[in-house]
Symmetry: C2
Subunit: 349 residues, 2 copies
DNA sequence: GATTAGCACTCGACCGCCCGGAGTGCCAGT
DNA sequence: ACTGGCACTCCGGGCGGTCGAGTGCTAATC
């Protein structure tokens, strides 16, 4: 569909300088500025010709006659794909990521939210970390605790040192020993299994119980089902940080647009859907403006990266900011955070 | 300092109508509007005289010559103190609060955040719920779980069906049975005590252990100390909801002001300090504009109410919105939420 | 003495206008 | 192929004028 057949050396260079300049100060860039800053020994007039080429190729545009040019979405695309020079991550930032994420005293959940807030802090934008589907979690231990009047507190420990708890309503009040028995059976039968497997096997178990087993056993199985099918278990989740940083950016300052953006984070639906698409991607992925497919993000870019365990992709993280962002700095931060987060989760298997 | 010696019937009435009118449409209110809407059978000119009195008393002011008048902070104060007519809570809203907060399947934490989000939803403003100091929580059960390489997962169940967990580093790897033994001792000794008491008694215990007991026991006590002095335990916390709703209000729309507001929620320090002051108050309390003492809230009002257990005040909740808010609707919502939250927490003792 | 009508005055919001600056496109000259 | 020159366009800011809303004051009225 596109006509990027060729682009002279000069045109490429000019596009690069133009985008960089516009990212820096946000204003449209004119031919004179460009002739001064590009390092090329040509006059403004010549540059105007080249710019006009770039415009007809849909890489840059002028917001109105006789303003400078700004990159179009396609322009940004080309820039990001083939001319941005990724800056190495600063030592300090790297250290901070390393030490705060790979903290052995943190549980998986804490590590994820640390990653999210660092991501936001280092990029000065909003960040999102998608939490692994709980369904992929492995059961470590289950514990029941009797509350008053037929209510039972179930505590579920999974890998990643994650503790989930849920209150169950039972049809009759169960004794301490009954609960201990139930927990024992459950642990004996399912420890080490993925929760999704546990769910599946519980259904079989209930089938079997219908015929063979006694009523008590049926009760236990049903209770166990309540635990693993409960609200949070098995559901995607996202951690968002630093939304309010987006207010700093002038171009997003129309209240209704900003509001829309905030809503998008609140809804989480679109968010999750978008992030899901990045699961299979190999490394950092950049969505510029409308590329994300969600109109709330029209003037924004989203930079994502999947993070992986030794046994495959686990989740996705990313940042959201204005299209006019410092890709050369942001990309490595996202990249590195994903890597560090991956290995941190790895080490707490 | 003030000169509210007296205020004619008419002046009071006019102030009331003016404030109500301004709350409704946000624009300055002029004498003609007032003579039309006040129900009084007097001309605009007369009203102008009264308004001029009100102005000299510092209850209303005009943003500039020849605009109408708007209430000053003191004007709002008087309005809230002695003329606002509290509206009864709507049936639907009451039902919603009742059913969602008093949900027996929710843990204390979930109940608090439900309350916060309902508060925000019903008032269309930002809400804050201050969580009881964890130090006041009563120990129900402790469980240890061995992780790899000298790391132990401690699971702490307190009243309110709240589950906290924390990863401890131990100097040597402990066996399953050692851990079970330690947990048994801990539970035998401390179940039913407040965490603050547990903390204190652990110190004594360590003293005693230094002389009498064996090294293993010392290790256990130290581990227990780690559990109850860990990060979250014993710290105030706040749940904030619906910050972004504040963007809807035109008067808060200057970006920097709004930003400041968001930061205030982020910092939480000021927030907590402000809420702390309301702990002893008897019912709903209203801070108008600068009364809160924090400049971030200058154009805002804060409506708070403490919520209580049978054994005394537990925490504070409230909403933050523009000074120009519908006090007659907001106050009962805050009031009722506090009451319902209190009794909900009560019933899960 | 309280209330009112009348009137001059003030000020913000809005509109149309003009002007300077920045930047473009095109063309003719090197 | 590049450049200088030039006419043109458009945005933004400053200026002046008008309009409407609202005030404060004063003199007349109840």
């Amino acid at each position: 569909m596109s006509s990027e057949i060729s682009l002279t050396e000069r045109a490429q260079h000019l596009l690069k300088v133009l985008v960089e300049h516009h990212i820096r100060d946000g204003r449209p860039v004119g031919s004179t500025t460009l002739s001064r800053d590009s390092g090329l020994k040509v006059s403004a007039a010549t540059i105007r010709n080249t710019m006009s080429d770039l415009e007809s190729m849909g890489l840059i545009q002028s917001p109105h006659t006789s303003a400078g040019r700004i990159p179009t979405q396609r322009g940004y695309r080309l820039f990001v794909d083939s001319m941005v020079k990724i800056q190495p991550l600063e030592r300090v930032q790297l250290n901070q990521l390393e030490s705060e994420i790979s903290d052995r005293e943190k549980s998986a959940g804490e590590v994820l939210s640390t990653a999210s807030s660092l991501l936001s802090q280092l990029t000065q934008m909003a960040s999102v970390v998608m939490v692994p589907k709980r369904g992929q979690m492995v059961l470590r231990q289950l514990e029941f605790l009797s509350l008053s009047e037929g209510r039972v507190l179930a505590i579920l420990v999974t890998n990643g040192n994650e503790v989930q708890n849920r209150i169950l309503q039972t049809d009759r009040t169960l004794s301490e020993s009954e609960l201990r028995q139930a927990a024992n059976w459950f642990n004996r039968t399912f420890v080490g299994e993925e929760l999704s497997v546990v769910r599946a096997r519980l259904v079989e178990e209930l089938e079997r119980a219908r015929g063979e087993m006694d009523g008590a056993m049926q009760g236990i199985v049903r209770m166990a089902q309540q635990v693993v099918t409960s609200g949070k278990v098995g559901e995607d989740d996202v951690v968002v940080s630093g939304r309010s940083r987006l207010m700093e950016y002038g171009e997003l300052c129309e209240m209704d647009r900003l509001r829309q953006l905030f809503d998008a984070f609140g809804e989480k639906r679109d968010m999750i859907h978008l992030l899901d698409q990045c699961m299979e991607a190999d490394g950092v992925q950049v969505f510029i403006g409308e590329e994300s497919g969600y109109s709330s993000f029209d003037d924004c870019s989203v930079v994502t990266a999947p993070y992986r365990h030794e046994d495959g992709v686990v989740g996705v993280l990313g940042v959201v900011g204005p299209t006019r962002m410092a890709y050369d700095k942001v990309i490595p931060v996202v990249d590195m955070t994903a890597k560090i987060l991956g290995s941190a989760l790895n080490s707490m298997r």
